[in-house]
């Protein structure tokens, strides 16, 4: 029983780490520009389909296809940001929500047109299949890989934000955009780069998600709710907040569905509503 619990908790944590990779970019860009980008998961879906195409048609190995997903999602997102999104930075939430939800609709329909509505499975390399035995417990190899990847990304992000010049600029712009602009920071291009990085991470998350939750054209919608919960609960612009919120959500989701399948989803929404009521800025939000 205890062993069972540990494995379920670990699975939940791995799912949480997947959510972290998917959502951390949105948290930072929302904190930076207050742009409510509901199309974030659509870029994740784009990353997922990139990996599918790269592995099936181009015979690329999985580990090489992952960076490709990152790069393509980043490039496509920055193209959208420069041409469409930037017009709406001062247009109010409703317009931002509508535009980006429209984009999710279009993306879902386009992927359905080109790839069909079915699931898109991929074949993982041998070393990521099967499970690893530690004592009497069996952990999925892919889930361990996922956790290591997410911890690596979290580490890189923290180092990048806290200890580099560019990170200092991002933090300054998140804290107070107007003062940062007044000091001569080019907030506009900082945002473009951050947006590209954030969407790239979403693309990577979408690629990593194929093996865990599958990939179909409704991905951009289905996981949007999870990502928004992570961002809202963790607090805008907070990497640590996103990490904690994603880990909690993943663990609650998987254990809830395992032990109380009837009301698991209900408990998560209830938890979110209560938490946002008590702390509208999320666990670690500053403003």
């Amino acid at each position: 029983m205890i062993g069972n619990l540990i494995v379920v908790l670990f699975d939940g944590f791995a799912f949480g780490m997947l959510l972290f990779v998917l959502s951390v970019g949105l948290s930072v860009t929302l904190g930076l520009m207050n742009f409510t980008n509901l199309a974030h998961c659509a870029f994740g879906m784009l990353g997922g389909y990139c990996v599918v195409v790269a592995m099936r048609s181009l015979d690329m190995p999985f580990l090489l296809a992952l960076p490709l997903a990152f790069i393509i999602a980043a490039l496509v997102s920055v193209a959208f940001e420069r041409t469409i999104f930037r017009r709406l930075y001062r247009a109010g939430e409703l317009n931002q929500v509508l535009l980006t939800i429209g984009l999710v609709f279009v993306a879902a329909a386009s992927f359905a047109y080109f790839f069909g509505t079915g699931q898109q499975p991929i074949v993982l390399p041998d070393y990521l299949q099967g499970s690893v035995e530690i004592g009497t417990l069996r952990f999925g190899a892919y889930r361990i890989f996922l956790v290591v990847m997410a911890l690596l990304i979290a580490g890189l992000l923290v180092v990048g934000l806290e200890h580099t010049r560019f990170g200092a600029r991002i933090r300054a712009a998140v804290d107070n955009q107007r003062v940062a602009q007044g000091l001569g920071l080019d907030v506009d291009s900082i945002f473009a780069v951050t947006f590209a990085l954030g969407s790239g991470l979403a693309g990577l998350g979408g690629a990593l998600a194929i093996e865990i939750v599958g990939l179909d054209p409704s991905f951009g919608f289905h996981y949007l709710v999870y990502v928004l919960i992570v961002v809202a609960v963790g607090g805008l612009g907070s990497i640590g907040g996103s990490f904690v919120a994603a880990a909690l959500l993943g663990i609650f989701d998987v254990t809830g569905k395992f032990f109380v399948p009837d009301i698991g989803a209900f408990l998560i929404y209830l938890f979110m509503v209560v938490l946002l009521f008590v702390r509208p800025l999320g666990l670690f939000g500053k403003r």
Partner: protein, 328 residues
Amino acid sequence: MRTERAISGPAATWLKKRNRISTVEIAFWLTTLLPFVLFPSYLSLASQIAIAALFALSVDLVLGYAGIITLGHAMFFGLGAYAAAVLAKHGWGEPLTGLLAAALIAGVAGFVTSFIIVRVQHLALIMITLGLGLLTYELANSFSSITGGTDGLSVEIWPVLGIFDFDLWGYTAYGYALAALFIGVLAARRIVNSSFGLALTGIRENSARMPAIGSVYRVHLQKIYVISASMAGVAGALLAETTGTVSLDTLSFQRSADVVVMLILGGTGRLYGGIIGAIIFLVARDRLSDLNPQYWYFWIGLLLMAIVLVMPGGVLGGLARLFQRNAK
């Protein structure tokens, strides 16, 4: 305690002028009668449109006038639908009292949640409305002994006023839904053209300044939220009664999103925006029903993006600007 005073002077005259019924409106309501004679085979579609329009109108009151962005209004629509259906299932299929029960239950739910809604803003507000909607859906799914779960309920509804039976062609259904929509519009019209309605617009435009001039803005928001919730509940009950069935789909996120799309399409904060939007949305979906629903959403998505980028204010907003330009 607040005392009600009769307002007089230029402000009252101005409000009265706004409240006057225009010839365009009369012409519009006369055209809504046309389906009875011209397209009798489309009456069930017409009643769907009237119901969707009433739902969109209820969302317009909170979103268009009071500025509360909601992605979970299907919660009240579904509650109303289930209230009427459960009542009918337990042997009381009288439609008008069904509507009242739906309005009451949805209103109570609106009152309870309004305490949360008025205390949060921005992303937290969007997430809480979304979360409450999803929560209600899951709740209805769990209590399948009452709601019928994924199978839904199918119920027997008595004739309206004891005379008009719900027929196969939808004459009664459309007449009934249209009458409800008409009363809903009259009520909403009275609300938005009152000093209370103006206070709501003020809150939408600047929520920091309204308290500064002494407006009890949270109470105002709570009031309009409850009114809107009841109206959405009535719309839901209409759907349940005219179709004789209710399913979980009345509570789904899809329904919350669709109604916002309709409202945006027609134009927010204009009373008739939701109606026009519902007509365009549902007629287009009916015409394009051969298409796979996946592709139908491609066009809806494109339309949404186009409206935000080129035609803020929707169809009615665009028309209004066109007329203003010509008048100059």
